[in-house]
Structures are given as C-alpha cells and as structure tokens.
C-alpha cells in the first residue's frame, strides 16, 4: 500500500508551472510535505485527491491508477482541504451523516454509529447539534478531520490543517492527527516545520513545484551535522554577514539577530557549531534552491 507519484507535472492555462516533474513514493504512516506558500503543495494535494487532472505524470495507489480511475481512489480517500466552508444552518451531525452517505455508508444504523464515534473522537459531541458555521477555527478543522476519517480511508490527505489555529488548538489538532494514521497513508502538507518535526516519519520539501529534498526528518537533519553555525550579531553587522556567508536563517532575539549559516569549516570566532534542526534543513534547502 504505497502511493507512487511519477513525473507529475501540471501547467495552468496561464502558463504557470505549478508541479514540475514530481516523483515520490509514500508508504504508510504520516508523510510531511513542507514548502513555502506557492510551492505547489495544494496543487499536488488536489491532484492526488482527484480534484485536478495533471498535464503529465502518473499516480498509483495500491494498484489503483488514480488518473484513470479516480472514482476507485475516492472510495478509500479522506481529504481535508486547505480551506473549506460549510452550508449555513447545517449542524455538524447532519453534515457528517450526509457525507457518510456520500462515502458509501448506506446502512442508517451503522452510519449513526460511525458519525457518533467520529464526533466523540474529535471532541465535537457536545456541539453536534450546533451549526458548523458558528464553529471556531479549531472546531472547524476538527470537523474537517472527522469527515476525512469517515469510512476508514486508506489514504488521508490533510492540506495545511494548522494554519490560523492558536497554539492550544493546534496542539489539540496535532494530537488528533497523531492518533490516526497507523497502517494508512497520511499526507500532511504544511509550511510549519514544527508540525512535520512532531508528527512525520518521512517528508519532502517542495519548492517552485519541484521536490527539492526528501527523506526521514532525522536523516535529513543528520546530513547537516557539523555544518550549521550560529552567532548572535548586532543589527548593523547583518548586511556584512549576509554577504559573506550562506545565511540559512535569521531570528531576532532581544533586539539582536541570531543567524544560522551553513559552512563546512568554522566561519569565524563568533560562530559556534550547533546541531541542525529540521528548520535548518528546511531553510538551507530553500536557500540552496534560491541560489
């Protein structure tokens, strides 16, 4: 049960190349797709979720040729779009019930059990009779994951689920995500490195429509071993540092700037070697693609 993406390319009618020859294999477990805004994450997600036909390439999931038989994939797909709305005046319970019908759970009794189970699972039981339109961002995302889980999907796609959530809600949501996804393929797209760091056993970094790096987070981090250096410098020295070194990140700390630079050898006295974080991996990858 692996998702195999081969040479996936998509060009929009206006000429924008959203996906550029993407090839990835994704095995069961949580897979993180990291990238800045506009990297093509949502395009890729939508393409996998059968909502968009690519210009070229192929997608295969446990023997299903997704592009030829989208309806076959949809039977085993759970999808939480990046941004979704709801009908006015429709309650969480009735909306889930409706979606459960559409996902093929036609037996009313079974469906009720599924819906109730999911409402409890995502902790929306108390508000099941309330209109979703009145939900907070976190509640809405939890509703989103509940609907994605209907009918035990084998492939779950979660597109930027934590964007806009406050830290507490985000935490709760990540816990929820962590609880699913054993034995199924879960693709989580995000631009927040921490999400991936906390949840994923494998990941890819997407930039400009291309996969610029992929592997297990630990392995990726290890690649940077001994090459990341940190220094705290004054604001006016920033320009010089930028020009002289490959700066992968800058962070303000108490009025000064903490910079991380990438170098094989110690760059200077003010720099100390630090253990590369996933964030460093991410930023260094982006930095190298830009240059």
């Amino acid at each position: 049960m692996t998702l195999r993406i081969r040479g996936l390319t998509h060009t929009y009618p206006n000429g924008t190349r959203a996906l550029d020859n993407i090839t990835i294999d994704i095995s069961p477990g949580m897979f993180g797709l990291l990238g800045p805004n506009g990297a093509g994450k949502s395009s890729l997600m939508r393409t996998i979720a059968t909502l968009q036909a690519p210009s070229a390439g192929s997608i295969e999931f446990s023997g299903i040729d997704v592009l030829k038989r989208p309806e076959a994939l949809r039977r085993t797909l759970g999808y939480l779009p990046q941004d979704f709305g709801v009908y006015p005046r429709v309650t969480a319970e009735s909306m889930l019930d409706h979606l459960a019908v559409l996902k093929g759970i036609t037996n009313a009794r079974e469906r009720r059990e599924v819906v109730h189970g999911l409402l409890n699972k995502v902790n929306l039981w108390e508000v099941r009779k309330k209109a979703i339109a009145g939900f907070s961002g976190g509640m809405r995302q939890r509703f989103g994951i509940a609907q994605a889980l209907i009918g035990d999907p084998q492939l779950i796609i979660v597109d930027e689920p934590t964007a806009g959530l406050d830290p507490e809600e985000r935490n709760r949501f990540l816990n929820l995500l962590a609880a699913i996804g054993y034995g199924v393929v879960v693709i989580l797209s995000t631009h927040i490195v921490e999400d991936v760091a906390q949840l994923c056993r494998s990941m890819a970094i997407l930039s400009g429509g291309r996969v610029v790096h992929q592997g297990a987070p630990d392995a990726l981090r290890r690649e940077l071993h001994g090459r990341v250096w940190s220094a705290t410098i004054a604001q006016d020295a920033l320009e010089v540092t930028r020009n002289r070194y490959t700066v992968i990140s800058e962070r303000l700390l108490g009025g000064k700037t903490v910079v991380h630079v990438l170098a094989s050898d110690p760059p200077g006295a003010e720099f100390t070697s630090v253990e590369g974080s996933l964030e460093d991996v991410y930023f260094s990858t982006l930095a190298s693609t830009r240059s």
Partner: protein, 1228 residues
C-alpha cells in the same frame, strides 16, 4: 474627494468585463429591434420604426431591461468592499461617508448610463441598414433619440440605481438587491394588471414606476402621423409621476446614507457564534470508531440520491428567494385570476376552469422558468460558493448522484409551486361564488403542461450550468435561449422539432376539452422529454468535479465519461429521441404539409401572382345548391357530395369555368356538364387549388348547367402549427367554403398585411373597389359566384350528435350508428352555410309562428333564458321597426371557444361558448354589476339583427359594404339593449365603443376611412358605427332613422345585382331627414370628424330665490382628420347637450335621478361661457356629458362644480375628478 471616488468607481466599472458584455447586449438589442423587419415595437400600422413615439417606447423598455445590469453595477459598488473584506481597510481611512457612499453611487450610475446608451446607438445604426423597407422609417433625427433617452431612459435608470443601491447598502447582500428587483418588477406587473382597466388609467399612469404608462396615457389615441412627427409631450401626469418616483429614489438614497455606518460590521465573522471559547476536555482522540460497511453499488447510489434530493430540496424550499418568488408569482397570478372573468366591453364571464387554466398559463408559467433558471445556478454552484466542493467532489459518490438530485429537487419544488397556483385558481373560483371546479381540467390543461415546461427548463439550465465557467454565464445562456426561441418564431423558424421544449399549442374549450389536440402535443412532449433526459445525461457526464473550471478538458474526455451503463442509457435515449422525431416528422411534414409562416407567406404571394389575373373573368352564377356532408367528428373528416345548378347571367356565351378551393379541402372528383378539365394548377409546382375547365359547348346567356363534385376535408395525424381543425370530437363548426369549390377566383386566402405584402414584393395594398365603382355592384361581398340560392343540405354525423345546417328539417333518420338530417330552404337565401355537429341539449320556445331553439352543451345552462329573451326582443323590435322576419325558425347553436365570436347564417346562429354561454351577468345582484354590460344579450341581439342586415339586404363588394350589415346590426342591438336595460347601460357600452374606436385608429395599417367607405375595418363598422348611429338618432329622432332603414329594406331586400351601396342608404337618409341635416350626415358618414368639447371650469352661486346659477367655461372644436390621422380645424356651430348633475354621469351608480338639467345650446369653435339656472345643488356640469359625439378626450366633458357660498368656495366635486381634469387640460 467626492469626484475622485466617483471617477475611481467609474473606471473600476469600465474595467469590468460584465459592463462590456452588457453594453454589447444592449447595442445588439437596439440594432436588432431596428434591423429586423419582423419586429414592430411601438410602430404598429403606418408608424415609423424610428419615429419619436417608437423610439420613446423602445428606450423605455430597454431601460426596464437595463435594470438587471443596473442592479449588478450599483450593488457591486457598495457590496464588494464588504465581501472582499477590503472594507476594514477603507473604512478606517479619512474618507467621509458622503464622499464614499454617494461617490460610489454616482460612479456606478454613470456606468449604467453608458450601458443604456448602447441601445440608442444600436438603433441608429440598425435603422440605417440597407435592406430595410424605407417606407417604415422616417428621416434620422438625433434629437428624437436624445429626447427619448432623457424622457424614458434616464429617469428609470436613476430610479432603479438609487433604489437598488440603497437596498444593497441596507441589506449588504447582492441577493437582497436582486430580490428587490424581482419584487419591483412584480409590483409593476401587478399594478399593470390591476390598474390596467380603463377606469384606473389615470391612477396607474400616476403610479407606474417607469413613467411609460403616463407617456402612453397621453398618446393612446395618437394616429400614425402623430406618432411619426410629434415628440411625446411632458404632461402633468408624467411630471407628477416622475416627481413621485424621483422623490422616492432620493429618499431611498437618503435613508441609505443615514443608516450606513463605517463601523457596522467590518467583517462577517461578527455573526459567528464563538463556540470555541468554551473549555474542552482533552484526550478524546482515543475514541475508537466502529468500522462500517461501505457500499458502492446501485443501491448505495440510490440512497445517496435520495439523501441529496432531500438536501437540495430543503435548501430551495427554505431559501428566502424561493418564498419571495412564489409569493410574488402567486400575487401576480392571483391578480390575473381575479380579473380573468373580465370579458370584452365591460362584460363578465363565469370563472370556469378553462378560463382559469388559460390565465395561469399566461400569468404563472413564467415563474417556474425563472425558478428553474435561477435555482439551477444556485444549486450547481452552491458547493463551490460555500467552498465545500473539494470535500464533496472527493467523495466516491458518482456524478449523477449530484446532478439528478438537483434536477429532482427542482422538479419537486416546481411541482409544488404549480400545485399552489392551482389552489389559487380554485380559491378565486370559490371567492367568486363559482363551485363547478374541474380538477382534471386544471391538471390536464395547465398543471401537466406547465410541469413539462419546467422539466425542459430545468434540464437545459442544469446542463448550461454544468458547462459554464460560472453561474452568471449559465444564466446568460438561459436568457439567450429564451430570446432565441422568441426571435426564431418571428423569423419563420417555427417547427417545434428544433424549438427545444416547445410543442404545438393545445386549444382548450369546455365543450370539447382538449379534443384531439393533445395528441400532437403529447408526441412533441415525449420527444422533448427524451431530449431533456439526454441533456441531463450529458450534464452528468460533463459535471464539474474538482478544481478545474474549464469545460474543454471535460468535453474532450466525454467519450470516456460516457462509459458503461451511461453509454447504454444515452444510446437508448438517442434512439427514442430520433424515432420519436421521425414519427413527428412523418405526421407534420409527410401526412401534412409543413410550411413555416414565412414559407406560407411566400406561397400565398405566388398564388396571388399566378391567379389574380383570373379574378374578373365572367363566370356563371350558382342558383341551386345541394350538398350531402358526411361528418366523421372523431376522425376529423368530412366527405361532401355536391351539386350546383349554374346559370349564365351574363350577356355573353361562356367558354371557361374556373374552380377554386382556397381552403384545405381536396377535390376528389368534379364534373361539369359539357366541360373538360383543361389545366389543373393543383398538379403543378407550386400547387394552387385552382382548375380551368373548358366548355366544349359554350354556355349561352340564360343557359343552366350542372356541376357535380366530391370533396374531402380531412386532418390526418397531427400538425406542427395551424393545429385548429373545424371538425372536432364534440363541437364541429365548418363553413360551406371549407367544403366546396368556388366558381372563379376570389381574394380569400391572399395576403393582407401590407408589411408582409411588401416583403413578398407585392403591391402594398389589395384594396376593394371604391365606392364610386358601379360595376362592383354586380356582386355581393359574401361571394361572387352566386346571388340568392335554393339550398338543400343533408348532414350526417355520429348518432349521439345533432347535425345542423341552415334550412327547415325535411327528414331526420338514424341508422347504423349515424344520424342524417336533411335541411331545405323554402325561399332563396345567401350561399353562406354553417354545418355543425355536437352533443346538444335543447331549449325551445315559440315567438308568433317562429320556432326558437337553442342547442347548447348541457353544462352551459347559465344564459339560456337570457338568450331566449334577447331573441324574442330582437325579433319583435326588428320586425316592428324595419320589416317582417323572413323565416319561421331561428336557432342558436353553441360551438367551442376556439374562436370567441358568433356568426349569423340564415335562421341559424352559431355562437361560441365563451361569448354567450359562459358569460355572467346577474340582474339580481344589481349593485355589484352596476357598471357591467350584458354581453350575451348584446351579442344575441346583434346576430339576430343580421337576419335583416345581411340576410335581407347585403351590400355590394366595395367600400362601405359592411356599414349596411355590421353598423346597422350594431344599431339594432343598441335599441334592443335600451329596451331591456334602459339608456344608462347603453351609454356605458358606447363609452367603451368610443374608446375602442379611438384606439383602433392608431393601429390602422392602411388608411382610416369614413364610415360610408369602410373597407371591412372592424373598429369603424362596429365601434364607430354604433356611436355614430346612436348620435344620429339623438339628433334626428328615432323615427327618421328607423324609417330610413325600413326604406332601405323595402328597396333592396332579397334583390340580386345591382347590390346596394352605403350611398343608397345616405340618399334615403337625406331625403327622410331633410336638407337641414345634410352637414351632419356628411360629418358622420362621409368624413372623419372629431370633436373636442370640454368644460374648463364650472361654478355655481346660490341665487336669492334659492336656486342655483351655474356658469361653465366651455371650449369646443371640430376637426376633420385624413386617412393618416392628420387633423384640420373645421368651423363649429352645432347644438350641444349641456347638463347639470348631482353625480358624475357614467360613473358608479349614476341614474337618471341624478340629472338636474339637460339643455341644448349652440356651441361655436373656441371659448365660451354658458349660464344655466337649476333647482338643486349642482355637483357636476358638462357639455355633451354622455359622450354622444366622437371626442378624443371624452374624460374632460364633465367637470366638478365649485359652489360659491358667500366668499368661501367649497369644492363639492369628488377630489379625484378635480385632479384628473386638471391633468388632462394641462396636458394639451
């Protein structure tokens, strides 16, 4: 700042593609209106298509249409900041509320003006197209366009812009302003419906929101020449109307300005209930969800479909727009239903179900189409607009489980709304005290056809939405479709095989139900239902799933998408559709001849070019007719075996005889003594129903010969258009002309409409001989090939029906399922026969030695007594005043309402159910019916009088002929009415006649003629004729008029050629009346004379001995008009009636008790003062108060009297009269 905001807004709108799409649409509309010869808006008759009148009307209508664009522009101007959330940035800048709001409004309004300007631009260019008939266009005058735009365009635009801008500001929703628009339009329709009656004309002109009513009010009697040169004057009504609505618009803007606040709701999030704030128990994520079985088969799909149907239907049923649309639809239909029983000339009908069904078809059917169009867009794009489409689209539910439920839910909703409208019909019937509900009638005549139309609309609208990139394009496609259907019919593309969702009309009658007419319609309905199913299949296959809105990739993938079962279904549907189409084609084009209206016109023109040359060839005349007509009502066939005895009444030997049968019948066999068929045009191409027979032995003067023939009139299968057949299952009414050949060519069946004639390259007019042409007296106007004939007609039909023809029963037998009756005349009658057959009940009575019989449908007993009374009264009156009745029987025979008229044949009067049998006039409930006309009595009297005027004297076939029959029948009927109901009822009726005449003038196509020269123009020989004769009697006295009529009968009754002319009557009249009335006779009969008399003001002072001195300021004019309506002042010096009243004459319950004084006084042209002394307190005073004369402004003859008590002036007259009078006078 203000200017900048406005300018920014305008530039923003100008960049909007929607603006340019609308601009092009209006340009095109303007262009087509001018450049398409078949369209004649505001330019009926001789009026120019680009005359100021037509331009004003067109611009006004374009402005009404432009509202749909205006509402989009102005709402967008205020809502987009709110929708995009940009408002929060903008509202916190230093911009002032006034600059922001009004600046936006002005910018958006300017954009609307630009769009509307496209239409006069299009008209200017369209009117210059080289192919146009130059006679239909006047010279180009820029000022006419500008005037029309300023008067009829701009104010409407401003009103709508202000209203909808304010509405959008207040509701902050596009939907709100669209609903406002719909509400506004329906208000307009309802207002027109309710206030459309003549008595409310003033009020509706004042209230009508677009000001067009006020403009039309001012011009309702305008003739073509007025329309072509005069700018519509800005009457006081118009200005008052505009002031009223502008005030409303400004106050709406003001309200919007006052209530608008930058701080009110910067974002929509405010509305959200903040549930997230509550504390939540952690760790619930460990819940295990029991796995459930998933199904993907057809059973599952069915469950999914039901769930979706419920989901979608609930959405529509509970959406405010639906409720509002339904409410307005019902309101509109309710108004029409309530007025459905209004008959012609202030008469009332019973609210029978066929009437209700027809009304609903006209007034409600468009509501389902709007609902289908609107909601197909809403449902198709709802998921996307609510941004839930990605979740929905990634479920395994098949495309069709999304599409079919939308269709089904819409159909559910539409069925419900149709059902509600039926209930409305039944409620109205009940409220009107009518309880013979015909529920199957509602179902078959209205509900099912309406549902079929809904189904086709839904299928097409859903397909359009499936392939369009957004719902607006989908809606636009629907509008284009509706327009295309409209236009194609006018262009001559009228086969319902390619007019989607359309089918031949099904005439309805209570007597005959839907007859056999439903069969053809049903085949077309099946055909289009299959077509609609195909569209739905296509919509399923092309359904948008996912992010890509483009239709081409889906179209390219269509073959794959139509796989498996879908392919099989599609194939079956295509097969069904094609075979159904083939069967229809076989019926309409092979069993029957299909000609589009344009092809038909071409054929008629060709016939004229080929055959008109034979018109004046000398022919023998028929002296004896013997016909055996076998009717097969259920097979819609008649076989006629006939014999004519002919006589050569010319002084030359005849060598040729022509047979002509312009109607539908086919001559199976013909035989003329000593004749050989020389040329048969029916066998040539193109075929015409004309044969030339050569007489081997010429027919000598005075010689008699026989012609025998067998004809067949049949209607096999069904037809595409022209569906009505005279032979019906129950209610056959066929004329002998439909069954038998004519001898010699005549003009029936040639083109009449002069625009069509011109387009076909024929001379514009085919006029009848002038009054001075004495040769024309050789023939009467009914037919040229006979004078008075002996008739022997045998009719057979199915056994349960009664066959009827003119003449007395000789034998009546029934054998082997058929009833045969032989009718024979005992003295010569005109060769003008009706053949009828239906299941009849009878009512019989005797008047002297005359048998009176009414043959009627057993359900229509309402007016039998009334008709018998009218028969007796008419026979009595006419035989007393004019001459003896020539027959000893008289029959009225009901026929279906397919044609709402009656016709008088010798002792036989076919009468439409809707004209006499289902009309309602209640003598007992006098109060409610005070201003109603008993049309049954009136029409009966008119038709019975034709036994004299038509069947005793008949005019020659030239100008003025119909005056001798129709005008005199009208006069006799007025006398009968007066005898039964008194003068008030007759005056009320004449007011209506006067109005009809004056309106008829402006629709005149050729030329208005004086009464004595009338060329079969109904508005002259009926409407003007009645008014003229009644006035003549008033001036000359009844004795003189009746004596003249009786003399006409004495001189000409039952005579053959030379037939009498209108001048023969005028000669007698002048002799009887004396030379002092010469001028009057000339004015009434030989000229088009129009009076304009009015009271400018009237006041009264109480004299010492307790009486009242009434002083009136009167202005009077007399004008002569020419055939085009151009008027010339004529000196006036005539005696007028002057009256003083206690109530307004002709209004409400005015009776003779309200007459305080009537006097005759000589009136001259211009202003003059008249003083009268009366005994009672006067309230109204008038000149020619009963409108005896033809007066173009009959409403200003009477004026409220201001009573002066000492110094104070109290206006005793009704408030309303005062207002309307002032408006009328100022409007001149």
């Amino acid at each position: 700042m203000f200017g900048q905001v406005a300018w920014f807004e305008l530039r923003y709108q100008l960049k909007n593609p929607v603006l340019w799409v609308t601009f092009s649409a209006f340009f095109l509309a303007g262009f087509i209106v001018m450049a398409d010869e078949t369209l004649q808006i505001g330019a009926a008759g001789n009026a120019y298509k680009n005359g100021p009148f037509a331009l004003t009307l067109l611009t006004g209508n374009m402005a009404i249409l432009a509202q749909f664009a205006v509402v989009a522009f102005v709402s967008n101007a205020v809502i987009r900041d709110w929708d995009t959330g940009f408002g929060s940035i903008l509202y916190t800048t230093r911009i002032r509320k006034f600059d922001y709001l009004i600046g936006r409004f002005v910018g958006a309004f300017a954009a609307s003006v630009i769009v509307l300007l496209a239409s006069p631009l299009g008209m200017m260019i369209g009117a210059a197209m080289p192919w146009l008939d130059s006679e239909r266009f006047g010279p180009f005058v820029l000022w006419h366009y500008i005037h029309a735009f300023m008067v009829a365009g701009l104010p409407t635009l401003f009103l709508c812009a202000a209203l909808f801008f304010s509405l959008a500001t207040a509701t902050r929703s596009m939907m709100g302003s669209y609903l406002g628009l719909v509400a506004f339009l329906i208000f307009y329709v309802v207002l027109n419906g309710i206030l459309g009656r003549p008595q409310y004309r003033e009020l509706s002109a004042l209230l009508e929101p677009y000001g067009i009513g006020a403009l039309m009010q001012e011009t309702r009697y305008w003739t073509a020449s007025d329309r072509n040169v005069q700018l519509i004057p800005l009457s006081q009504t118009y200005l008052a109307n505009r002031a009223l609505w502008s005030a409303l618009a400004l106050s709406a803007l003001l309200t919007a300005y006052l209530t608008f606040s930058f701080s009110r709701g910067v974002g929509r999030a405010d509305k959200k209930l903040r549930l997230g704030a509550q504390r939540e128990a952690p760790g619930s994520a460990q819940w295990q969800v029991t796995p459930a079985k998933k199904e993907f088969g057809s059973g599952a799909a069915f469950t999914q479909m039901l769930a979706r149907i419920r989901f979608e239907a609930v959405h529509v049923f509970f959406s405010p727009a639906f409720i509002v649309l339904m409410g307005f639809g019902l309101f509109n239909a309710g108004g029409s239903l309530w007025l459905a029983d209004e008959g012609p000339g202030h008469s009332t009908a019973f609210p029978i179900t066929s009437l209700m069904a027809k009304t609903l078809i006209d007034s409600f059917t468009f509501i389902p189409i709007i609902i289908a169009t609107y909601y197909s867009g809403e449902l198709a794009w709802r998921d996307r607009e609510k941004r839930i489409h990605e979740i929905m689209d990634s479920t395994p539910a098949a495309n069709w489980t999304f599409v079919i439920p939308k269709v089904a839910a819409l159909l559910l909703v539409l069925a419900a709304s149709i059902a509600v409208s039926v209930v409305a019909g039944i409620v109205v019937q009940t409220l009107k005290g009518f309880h013979d509900y015909n529920v199957p009638g509602y179902l078959l005549w209205y509900a099912l056809p309406a549902f079929f139309t809904s189904f086709c609309s839904v299928a097409l609208a859903v397909l359009f939405q499936a392939i369009s990139p957004n719902k607006f394009v989908g809606w636009a496609m629907m509008i284009v479709y509706l327009l295309a259907i409209l236009v194609s019919g006018q262009m001559g593309f009228d086969h319902h095989l390619y007019l989607y969702g359309h089918y031949p009309s099904v005439p309805i009658s209570e007597m005959n139900g839907q007859g056999h007419y439903w069969i053809g319609a049903a085949w077309f309905q099946l055909y289009w239902a299959l077509g609609a199913l195909l569209l739905i299949t296509l919509a399923c296959a092309l359904w948008r799933r996912g992010a890509d809105p483009r239709v081409w990739p889906r179209l390219r993938a269509l073959p794959q998408r139509l796989a498996g079962v879908t392919r099989a279904i599609t194939a079956l549907l295509v097969l069904g559709f094609v075979s159904c189409g083939a069967w229809i084609f076989y019926n309409t084009n092979i069993l029957n001849t299909y000609r589009s209206s344009v092809a038909m016109q071409r054929w008629q023109a060709d016939m004229e070019r080929t055959l008109l040359r034979y018109e004046h060839a000398p022919m023998p005349k028929i002296s004896d007719v013997s016909l055996t007509v076998d009717l097969y009502p259920h097979q819609h066939r008649a076989i006629t075996v006939g014999t004519y005895q002919m006589e050569n009444r010319t002084s030359e030997p005849l060598h040729e005889i022509y047979l002509f049968w312009p109607q539908r019948a086919i001559i199976d066999r013909a035989e003329i003594d000593g004749g050989v068929l020389e040329r048969d045009f029916a066998r040539e191409t193109p075929a015409f129903p004309f044969q030339i027979w050569r007489l081997s032995r010429p027919m000598q003067p005075g010689e008699r010969r026989r012609i025998q023939f067998v004809t067949r009139l049949e209607y096999p299968g069904f037809r595409n258009n022209d569906v009505l057949t005279p032979i019906n299952d129950n209610g056959t009414f066929v004329n002998d002309r439909d069954l038998t050949p004519l001898i010699g060519f005549d003009r029936s069946g040639l083109l009449r409409d002069r625009n069509i004639r011109r387009r076909q390259g024929l001379p514009a007019d085919l006029r009848i001989p002038r009054l001075e042409d004495e040769d024309a007296q050789a023939v009467n106007y009914l037919r040229h090939d006979s004078d008075w004939v002996n008739a022997d007609i045998t009719v057979s039909t199915v056994a349960d029906q009664t066959p009827i023809a003119p003449g007395y029963v000789v034998s009546d037998t029934t054998s082997s399922g058929r009833r045969t009756v032989r009718y024979r005349s005992d003295a010569p009658i005109l060769q003008f026969f009706s053949i009828q057959s239906a299941v009849y009940a009878t009512a019989r009575e005797r008047w002297g030695n005359v048998d009176l019989t009414i043959y009627y449908d057993h359900r229509h007993t309402y007016n039998i007594e009334r008709m018998l009374r009218a028969m007796r009264a008419s026979l009595e009156l006419c035989s007393r005043k004019f001459s003896a009745f020539q027959f000893h029987q008289l029959r009225i025979i009901e026929f279906p309402a397919y044609w709402p008229g009656a016709q008088s044949f010798a002792n036989t009067v076919p009468f439409a159910e809707s004209l006499g049998f289902t009309t309602r006039f209640n003598d007992v409930e006098g109060a409610r019916e005070a201003d109603r006309i008993d049309i049954t009595t009136y029409a009966t009297a008119h038709e019975i009088s034709h036994q004299w005027w038509g069947h005793q004297v008949i005019g020659s076939d030239q100008q003025g002929a119909t005056m001798l029959s129709e005008t005199f029948a009208q006069y006799s009927a007025l006398l009968v009415m007066e005898e039964i109901y008194g003068r008030d009822q007759v005056r009320r009726f004449l007011r209506f006649e006067l109005d009809t005449y004056l309106r008829g003038r402006n629709a005149e196509v050729v030329e208005e003629l004086p009464l004595a020269r009338v060329e079969n123009q109904p508005y002259i020989h009926y409407n003007k004729g009645g008014v003229v004769m009644y006035f003549l009697r008033n001036e000359l006295g009844e004795e003189v008029v009746n004596r003249s009529l009786a003399r006409l009968l004495r001189e000409f009754a039952f005579r053959g050629a030379p037939y009498p002319r209108s001048t023969d009557f005028l000669r007698i009249l002048r002799e009887e009346a004396g030379p002092e009335h010469d001028a009057l006779v000339t004015d009434l009969f030989e000229r088009i004379t129009l009076y304009d008399a009015r009271v400018l003001e009237a006041s009264a002072v109480r004299s010492e001995e307790g009486r009242w001195d009434v002083t009136m300021l009167v202005e009077a004019h007399k004008r002569y008009a020419d055939g085009k309506g151009a008027e010339a002042e004529a000196p006036l010096d005539e005696a007028f009636e002057i009256g003083v009243f206690a109530a307004e004459p002709g209004e409400g319950r005015f009776t003779s008790n309200d007459v305080i004084m009537m006097a005759r006084q000589r009136i001259r042209s211009g202003l003059q003062k008249i003083t009268l002394r009366v005994d009672r307190a006067p309230r109204f005073a008038g000149i020619d108060p009963y409108n005896m004369r033809i007066d173009r402004n009959s409403g200003d003859n009477v004026c409220a009297v201001q009573v002066k008590v000492g110094d104070a002036i109290s206006k005793q007259g009704a408030f309303f009269t005062g207002i309307s009078r002032r408006q009328r006078t100022a409007a001149r």
